[in-house]
């Protein structure tokens, strides 16, 4: 099963499933930004909340990519 391939500390999508997951992650990041913008008072609040969520979803994405990328 090869969904991703590793480039430094990032995992690049390789197959259709990989690209699907990547697009889903990007979609969530956009949604998180819009949601943070609606609830936060200032720009710094929006950015911190957004960075937090992006980092969290980045961890999840990387964990999945770790198990679905080939051994080097």
């Amino acid at each position: 099963m090869k969904w991703f391939e590793r480039k430094t500390i990032f995992f690049k999508p390789y197959s259709l499933a990989g690209w699907g997951l990547f697009m889903l992650t990007l979609g969530y990041c956009t949604y998180a930004f819009i949601e943070a913008k609606e609830h936060a008072n200032s720009l710094s609040d929006v950015l911190i909340q957004w960075v937090f969520r992006v980092a969290l979803v980045g961890v999840m994405y990387s964990v999945i990519a770790y198990f679905t990328s080939p051994e080097e």
Binding site: R6, T8, I9, F10, F11, S44, D45, I48, Q49, V51, F52, A55, G58, V59, S62, V63, Y66, S69, E71, E72
Partner: protein, 169 residues
């Protein structure tokens, strides 16, 4: 023809060269891949590093912007939404997993039947060792902090109870 025989004799008389280094007697297969473990390790220690970066920014720029407070507020919101396990997961379990994975990628354990020995070797790779250090230290500091905080809270509760009993007498 004579030249050929002479050449053969000369070749047979040559001494065999002895190699300077011996071949490795064992095939060392690491448990996990070093590069992949380092990549996932960075993601797993991301949140403690993010917190450190925010604290560093606050200290260096001496600014009054509530970056760290907002960070903790966001954490609290997530903690409340997920039943309180979120912060321990990010600041204790994830760094510990990162350290463990990187340690396993550097370790080679071979059992020698003849001498009945376990041979443990550790590869020296800077970034893997660095991640082991960060993961272990973060988990230790947070673990120690949680234990002491819990002990202080318990002793405070005991004191309150004693005061209440004395007040009743």
């Amino acid at each position: 023809m004579e030249n050929h025989e002479e050449f053969e004799k000369r070749m047979q008389g040559l001494k065999k060269p002895t190699p300077a280094t011996q071949h490795q007697a064992y095939l060392k297969v690491p448990i996990l891949n070093t590069r992949k473990s380092a990549a996932i390790g960075w993601w797993l220690v991301l949140f403690p590093l993010l917190l450190l970066a925010f604290l560093g920014m606050k200290e260096i720029f001496k600014s009054d912007n509530h970056v760290v407070d907002t960070f903790f507020d966001t954490l609290t919101v997530f903690d409340r939404a997920h039943g309180g396990w979120f912060s321990p997961l990010l600041f204790f379990l994830f760094p510990l997993i990162a350290a463990g994975m990187n340690l396993l990628s550097l370790l080679n354990i071979i059992y020698d039947r003849n001498t009945n020995e376990l041979i443990v070797t550790i590869k020296l790779r800077f970034w893997n060792l660095f991640l082991i250090g960060i993961g272990t230290s973060v988990a230790l500091i947070i673990g120690f902090y949680a234990v002491t905080e819990n002990m202080i809270e318990k002793s405070m509760q005991d004191m309150e109870r004693l005061r209440h009993i004395e007040h009743l007498k």
